[in-house]
Assembly symmetry: C2
Homo-oligomer: 191 residues x 2
């Protein structure tokens, strides 16, 4: 998606250790005008798929998931990274290793919000090694819901996540796929 | 706001220890159609105030803040609860005690996203003892931005937060103010 690629080129910052900072518009400050265009693009790519629920994970997936949910006319469920007092009852649980934070999270979704009647689109801001996405996919499988596919804002094409998820037969639509990046610039995979 | 009060009555669950669970539509599963109506109501209550930035805090504030930002035609910044690798540079920091999680968080906002040119509306899902809101207000003050006011979804009117924030002279608009709640029912403050 050219609009997103342009924003990454203009406002993204490549840091040491394979980190791409897009906090100006995606995951700290959030440009909801851009989110709306991304949401329309996911809607185009998953048209007719009967999506009736969007699943994401806190925190930075929530904004894009909510705007996307308006396009699909459905609700969002966000997976939580720890168990607070407010979340009891029956839970789907999985573990996810965070690349950014360098630790393992327990991730939970209340069972009452995901079941066999759901046709689920998973939305997240980043795909790198794929751990978060694999965790969310395992929750969808466990729930008996149908996984329609995954919509990602930025995929790091030089890491293993995208290849792994596509090899599972999952329809994966990343709006920008970074092929390589350095302080000199960022190149994207051609669509 | 009657629409929100009705949803709380229909789908909210009162738990021991003063906990009101609204995870069916607000902070685990999210009904973005309801969020849109809430956003329009905040826009009405803060009309003409020149809001050009919305500040919220992860995680459950993000969804309502993003939908509200579309109504105001502005960007969102969400305060983060811990410092990850991705967030360096100059930071505003404060500490917030979470009622729900029973612990203290460091909360940070990158300085580049909040400054004297900003007219800030703070959005959050809950107001109880007011700690989170006080923390966000202190960040706005430190940044030199103008605090236009605070838009809250659900205020627990029987806790101290609302009184404290209003006594500071802050325009606080809560869409539903719970006066009392028990397993027998929930009563709201009249508008």
């Amino acid at each position: 998606m050219k609009l997103l690629e342009d924003r990454i080129r203009e406002e993204g910052v490549v840091k040491e250790g394979g980190v791409l900072k897009v906090d100006r518009f995606l995951n700290h400050q959030m440009d909801v005008g851009l989110f709306r265009e991304m949401a329309k693009e996911w809607k185009r790519r998953f048209a007719g798929a009967g999506v009736n629920k969007i699943l994401t994970i806190e925190a930075s997936g929530i904004g894009i998931a909510c705007i996307a949910a308006e396009e699909f006319g459905c609700r969002v469920v966000f997976a939580k990274k720890t168990q607070g007092k407010n979340l009891d009852g029956e839970l789907y649980t999985t573990q996810i290793t965070s690349f950014t934070k360098g630790r393992v999270f327990d991730v939970i979704v209340a069972k009452k919000f995901l079941g066999p009647e759901d046709r689920v689109l998973i939305i997240d801001d980043f795909l790198a090694n794929g751990c978060a996405l694999e965790g969310l996919i395992s929750i969808v499988r466990e729930s008996g819901a149908t996984l329609v596919g995954c919509g990602i804002a930025i995929e790091k094409g030089f890491q293993e996540g995208g290849k792994k998820i596509r090899a599972m037969g999952v329809k994966l639509e990343s709006l920008a796929i970074v092929e390589s990046m350095s302080e000199d610039g960022i190149t994207f995979r051609e669509e």
